[in-house]
């Protein structure tokens, strides 16, 4: 396996009140690869994903112990600024969640809150970001129309563009295709493969074919434990753990 890692998770425990959602997680996310978290509902894969940009902080009664190192720096240390962490580690959600403002303003939102006000510069960022997700030619004439008028697939692309506009290093995707139809899913997957050229991608998915199609590495989780982690090919064709094999072959889940 890779020696360098973008995100190193060390002995991570996470509690929702008294319920332990993550148990002693050790995993290294390699840079500029796609890593998939798979496992049945409630196994903690989304929780682990949300631990990487501290979105779990929003939930009441969450307690985290252990370390998550982003480029070697613990994101749970008091020195880590939440704002800059989330700028570096962006997140795509299950349901596309564009803001009810224009397409342009959606993409410009990130750069604006991080202090860019120059109109020309914003125009450039919006164009680059929309081009990166392949939707520029479809929306360039309706940038001022509300983003909610876009089709779901375009909305999800827009959400990705919106993240790219703040130039993140890591993209966390929480079942980004679960609200989309199969054709739209295929297109978003294509985009994800495209994105790994410059980004580290971590994707949570319910869909094992999707994990097999897009990911380089896979982590199988069960009841808060990380059962197995390895190259996707290995995990899917030659799982070392019995439970992984049972899940992959469809015996439960």
């Amino acid at each position: 396996m890779n020696n360098i890692s973008k995100i190193e998770t060390k002995a991570l425990d996470l509690f929702y009140g008294h319920f332990q959602a993550l148990k002693n997680i050790h995993v290294s996310i390699p840079p500029q690869k796609i890593t998939a978290f798979i496992g049945p509902s409630g196994c903690g894969k989304s929780t682990l994903l949300r631990a990487y940009n501290r979105m779990n902080d929003l939930i009441k009664g969450v307690k985290v112990t252990g370390e998550v190192l982003l480029d070697g720096k613990n994101i749970y240390s008091s020195k880590m600024k939440l704002i800059s962490l989330r700028k570096r580690v962006g997140m795509v959600f299950q349901r596309p969640n564009p803001f009810p403002i224009s397409t342009y303003e959606n993409v410009a939102f990130g750069p604006r809150i991080h202090g860019i006000t120059n109109r020309e510069q914003l125009d450039n960022i919006v164009e680059t970001s929309l081009k990166a997700t392949g939707m520029w030619k479809d929306v360039k004439d309706k940038l001022q129309i509300s983003a909610l008028a876009l089709a779901p697939e375009q909305q999800q692309r827009l959400c990705i563009s919106r993240l790219l506009a703040v130039e993140p290093e890591v993209l966390l995707m929480d079942e980004p295709c679960s609200a989309l139809d199969p054709i739209a899913t295929a297109k978003i997957e294509e985009l994800i493969l495209e994105l790994k050229k410059c980004l580290t991608v971590v994707i949570v998915t319910h869909n094992m074919q999707q994990a097999a199609r897009v990911s380089d590495y896979s982590a199988f989780m069960l009841l808060g434990d990380l059962v197995e982690f390895g190259e996707t090919k290995e995990v899917f064709t030659n799982p070392k753990d019995k439970r992984t094999q049972d899940y992959i072959t469809g015996r439960f889940g």
Partner: protein
């Protein structure tokens, strides 16, 4: 499928209740309109007062300078509505300028920043403010607020537009606050998550994402607040000084349209010109409120369409 009888009875009852609300609204308008109509049709009434006299400046005696004056029971009755209109607009503007920013900020605080126990105690308390009878607010303004405001701002008059406006604002706050707070709380959590995940601070999230997303509801809240402010009578009657002065300064006493009706209708000679003028004022108030509500609703609809991108 045939509906059971009980179902029919309940449905009928609901229909009648809904119809009653509309019918009574129409009837109110019809009866007030009926009393105001002689202003335009009756020859006798027009001898006494015309619409022109109510709108344009008049000379009280031939040769004297023209002026706007409301003195319906003087030797030469003067019926200019302009001082009353200016007074109403003045106090409404002051009340809304005071109440709207305060209410929206309070709503934003409770929905976005306050810990839940604060939120659960502030909201009912502000809503309780809506239950205070306006005569109590008026009394408070007249006895307590007026003294302080006069001292703080060094005003010539104890009862003035600022005092009445702030007192009126107190009556407007609960409405604007409650409706705005509901609108803010109804903003999907996913918008907040999306903004925070981009590295927005909670304040940026609240100000740039949540507030704009709730804009239609907040605007509707402001329209409701306006309706309350322009129609409110008792607070203005007690705290305004009731002098129909034609002046734009907020340091002066004034008299509002609604307070004029309340103060004078009890003593007016039935069927006189003065009597019909008071009903005419009632119709004007009705029309103002209706127009503002109607255009407000149109604006809210357009805003919603714009946000949904369906237009």
């Amino acid at each position: 499928m045939k509906k059971p009888l009980s179902e029919k009875i309940i449905e009928g009852f609901i229909h009648i209740s809904a119809a009653m609300a509309i019918v009574s609204l129409v009837l109110i308008f019809v009866f007030i309109g009926k009393e105001a109509l002689p202003m335009l049709t009756s020859h006798e009434v027009r001898e006494e007062v015309t619409v022109t006299q109510m709108v344009l400046p008049q000379s009280p005696e031939p040769g004297e300078p023209k002026e706007f004056s409301w003195q319906p029971v003087s030797r030469v009755p003067k019926y200019s509505l302009m001082p009353l209109f200016v007074g109403t607009v003045k106090v409404t503007v002051v009340a809304l300028l005071f109440a709207i920013p305060l209410s929206i900020m309070a709503a934003l605080f409770t929905s976005e920043f306050a810990p839940s126990w604060v939120r659960e105690s502030i909201k009912p308390v502000i809503e309780l403010l809506a239950g205070i009878p306006s005569v109590v607010l008026g009394f408070f303004a007249l006895i307590v607020m007026a003294t302080y405001i006069q001292n703080w701002f060094n005003m010539d008059f104890r009862l003035n537009t600022l005092t009445a406006g702030i007192a009126l604002g107190l009556a407007v706050i609960p409405i604007v606050y409650t409706v705005s707070e509901d609108a803010l709380s109804a903003v999907p959590q996913s918008y907040r998550e999306g903004a925070l995940a981009l590295g927005a601070t909670p304040w940026q999230t609240a100000w740039r994402v949540v507030l704009p997303s709730a804009a239609p509801g907040i605007f509707a809240a402001c329209v409701l607040g306006f309706g309350r402010a322009i129609g409110e009578t008792m607070i203005v009657l007690m705290a305004s000084g009731n002098a129909p002065v034609m002046d734009l300064s907020i340091g002066y006493p004034f008299r509002s349209l609604s307070a004029t009706i309340a103060a004078e209708l009890g003593e007016v000679v039935r069927g006189s010109g003065h009597y019909h003028v008071l009903f005419f004022i009632g119709v004007l108030l009705f029309i103002f409120t209706f127009l503002i509500n109607f255009s407000g609703q149109l604006f809210v609809d357009r805003l919603k369409e714009k946000m949904a991108g369906t237009k």
